[in-house]
Symmetry: C2
Subunit: 555 residues, 2 copies
């Protein structure tokens, strides 16, 4: 059966029953249909002071076209923990609507480790991303309107720093000239659109602890600069209040269920590139109050996703992760070992061994954050016993353990061993989480620390202009912010073709950006595309309702 067939055959329980598993009262679950709900703000406030459950991060090796299954393993481990009698919940990210119409693919897991309702999750869901789009574009409209009516803030229209967003792959909007058509339409200037997940408003929603914090952060967004280079903030344009109103409902975490009817919080989904790529802080902290074990994921491979999870999300939200599950597949090991995609079906133990270097480095890196790690081998039907054993042996040689998981085929029955291991690690109490650099370290040194400690680069290359910019921000009081690295996800280095565990490379920082509302400095180390395009044959062409009213072609 395909993923979508499995999802359609799911025996979903009413969402109120799922909420009851976490002791959420009926009135505090705001239903969206019969299978989705938001958890009320008031209920979440009332949880303060309660003891936190244990936090587990699922991350992965550097992604390859072979696929790793980070979300699938997050779902599988959550179900596995429930199956062995633990009260567990998962926290994953919402899917972006626009890209679903470009390439096929969803974001709800796969096989027998899925979250449902899958169709809704890949379409409008509970409207969070639409609310973010509205709030973002309201600020943009108010900004141009401010300039139109006299520009009291004296914004230099060449230095407007806030673009518009749309949840769509639309290359035509990457670069535009707006305000054309004469006096009534404003002052012509260069502008552009990003995809909604790349919005700073999205990153803010995912880091805010409550509505007050949200409003404060929104007010801090820098929308442009004056001729003297001094910043103009969102609050100068007086948009922060209305944006908060637009986001009030979106700030409430969404509750859905796994195929095994276990609770899943699906909330947030900031771009894992120019933002931090994690489930929202409010969803994760809420889940920790309601469940004894909370499994969450981070974007891309561990060098990008786990690092940002630790150094940005956990640091800022005061989270203490106690275990890491590092997802690897035999197929991805083979690709890291030099095998092409069409050769993955054949047994090749030597290639597996060669590719393990990538996995090994991630294991070492995670230890640097003081969190014990276990490797989950996400099983694929073509994997041979010898190949699996090769991975296990390698991981053992690194002082860790690899466990074969078959959640894709078997659901929780395929992850019980992993679940037991994770519980054992947590009960062992060996975790001593700490970010890899302190708040007070100078900004450039923070970038160097990540590049050298995590990417294993020899050096960071940056123009004087970039170093000066970082120093200026330090003087302006932003020196204590963490850095959000923007780099290719395919390699430890900045060269996407350099698989395995490269050394001796250097990390060029092309540009730095201040996300004053989200609260980080983005260091751009390579090309960053913030508005994707559609392919020659977009998957949208095949998406339609069939005669049964079911959605075809979306997955």
């Amino acid at each position: 059966m395909s993923d979508i067939e499995i999802a359609r055959a799911a025996k979903k329980r009413p969402i109120q029953e799922i909420g009851a598993k976490l002791n959420i009262p009926l009135d505090d679950l705001l239903p969206f249909g019969h299978d989705k709900a938001k958890v009320s703000e008031g209920f979440i406030k009332g949880l303060q002071g309660k003891k936190d459950g244990h936090l587990i991060l699922v991350t992965a090796i550097n992604p390859t076209p072979a696929g790793e299954g980070k979300t699938t393993t997050t779902v599988g481990l959550g179900d596995g923990l429930n199956a062995i009698g633990k009260k567990a919940a998962i926290c994953i990210r919402e899917a972006s609507l626009g890209p679903c119409f470009g390439m096929k693919g969803g974001a709800a897991g796969g096989g027998y480790a899925q979250v449902v309702p899958m169709e809704d999750m890949n379409l409008h869901f509970t409207g969070d991303f639409h609310a973010i789009t509205s709030a973002h574009n309201l600020l943009a409209a108010m900004l141009d309107n401010h300039i139109y009516w006299g520009n009291d803030c004296e914004i230099d229209i060449r230095r407007v720093a806030f673009r518009r967003v749309m949840d769509m792959n639309d290359r035509a909007l990457r670069e535009i000239v707006c305000n054309l058509g004469g006096v009534a339409n404003g002052f012509p200037r260069e502008a552009g659109f990003d995809i909604t997940v790349a919005s700073e408003v999205m990153a803010i929603l995912c880091l805010a602890t409550d509505l007050e914090d949200l409003e404060r952060r929104l007010g801090n967004i820098i929308v442009g600069y004056r001729r003297d280079r001094s910043p103009v903030y969102c609050r100068d344009i007086k948009a922060d209040g209305a944006m908060t109103v637009l986001l009030q409902q979106a700030m409430q975490p969404n509750l859905v269920q796994t195929l095994e009817n276990n609770p899943a919080f699906v909330h947030g989904g900031p771009f894992a590139n120019i933002a931090h790529g994690c489930n929202s802080v409010i969803a994760t902290t809420t889940a920790l109050k309601l469940a004894d074990y909370v499994v969450t994921e981070a974007g891309f491979g561990a060098d990008l996703g786990a690092e940002k999870f630790f150094d940005i999300k956990c640091r800022k939200a005061g989270l203490k992760p106690e275990a890491v599950v590092l997802v690897a597949t035999v197929r991805a090991m083979k690709m890291n070992g030099g095998v092409k995609k069409d050769g993955l079906g054949e047994e090749n133990v030597e290639a597996v061994k060669a590719g393990c270097a990538n996995l090994g480095r991630h294991i070492q890196n995670i230890k640097k954050f003081g969190v014990p790690a276990v490797v989950a081998i996400n099983h694929f039907v073509t994997d041979t016993e010898a190949e699996v054993q090769a991975v296990k042996d390698y991981v053992a040689s690194m002082g860790s353990e690899a466990i074969l998981c078959q959640h894709w085929a078997k659901g929780s029955a395929g992850t019980e061993e992993l679940a037991h291991k994770v519980v054992e690690i947590i009960e062992g109490g060996s975790a001593q989480f700490a970010p890899i650099y302190p708040d007070e370290m100078p900004l450039f040194q923070k970038i160097e620390t990540v590049a050298k400690e995590i990417y294993r680069a020899d050096e960071v290359i940056a123009d004087k202009k970039i170093r000066d910019q970082l120093r200026q921000w330090e003087e302006a009081g932003y020196g204590n912010l963490p850095v959000c690295m923007a780099k290719t996800q395919y390699s430890f280095s900045t060269d996407p073709n350099l698989r395995g565990a490269p050394t001796g490379h250097s990390v060029p920082v092309r540009e730095v950006r201040l996300s004053a509302g989200a609260g980080f400095i983005v260091a751009i180390c390579g090309e960053i595309m913030t508005m994707p395009g559609l392919p020659r044959v977009p998957s949208a062409e095949a998406i339609r309702l069939n005669e049964a009213g079911e959605i075809e072609g979306l997955f």
Copy 2:
């Protein structure tokens, strides 16, 4: 108490109870929170063959800055009908999000004749408009993508006829140049954004009878022309299927309640200018299967709104309205009689009498459609008895009846007399509805018919180019479509300052547009703004959450 204070004090019932009043089973109500729900597609399909209730249209005199209260009266009459023991539902339009951040004002009625939850209705509601924005912009993105990847349809990029939309007042986007930035970003061309309610996709959603009809109409949208002027359709770009998927949920009517806990369908809201400005066909036809009396409204004054309701919505959906309520206020009569806004507080019977000519012509016009009309005088506290009597006497002299309504202050108790009168009219069985022109009349003659019969113009002025265009469309098979007049709402003429009942004027047609998906020809008689701008001090500046978490400044 202010409208918002009254709304917050409402004793809302769970939406399931409201649905039960219309015999909608629990499973067929898809809840959005505890006070909103969508009615399932399957349930609606199952209603076919059931007897229809009676349809009542609420329309008004030409709007003035004094306000008339069309939605308020629709709500009041619905409650009044329920109060006198009839099973009644109302069908009104959804509010557009963007404009709420420009000028103050909502679209949920007022005083004790409101629909709740008011805040949600003025914000994201159930996401219908966001879905329309997504579907519209998906087509726009696929269109530019089609051109980018080789332009197999040979679209002339100077003749792209499909803009993008955003639910925001954003003048900066009215006219843009897009696809800038080099080869990877496409072919630069002029483009622009309209507000979402002006989207043809919105008009289509509001006229479609079911999902199949929706998909067919979406496919018919003309997105551009080739150099030989032949049209390229949405279905040539293969976007119709995915757009239908995006709109699947939005096609389900939304159920909410009045302050008196009576059912209200709030669905659709096409621009009353370049579209027809009515509640969706699917909501109205569904309500007619579930209630014995259905009260609905149309945009602007009766010359625009009622005419389009009759000639477009009723014609196309086969609806048979049996009574019309024409809303007037003493204050608006005074303004039509020449009084300025700051003089409205003083008694001025002569001005009321002078202004009644506007009302009288609307009464005559409605009779031309074969539907009996009653006038509702929406009472305002400063109205004097003599002024009210002057309106009543005038209406009586026109062979109709005017009834004083006090729903704003008293709810249903203020409209019982009106409700009895409406029932009496319907039971009298005198209605013989017919559109004012037949399908087979040539297009230009249709425009002339409306201009002469309804606007009482002497003539229609149009260039040869426009007449040729209409003939070309007739040859292409579009001759049987109705015309959708786009004209100022403030006057019977095309001059917004010409109040009262002008004669001897001419109607210049500046432009004609083919909405092949929606199924009408738009005749533009004056300036049409399809993307509003924000005022100098947008209401958004004062919108924020107060300490109780309530929304301030939105209303």
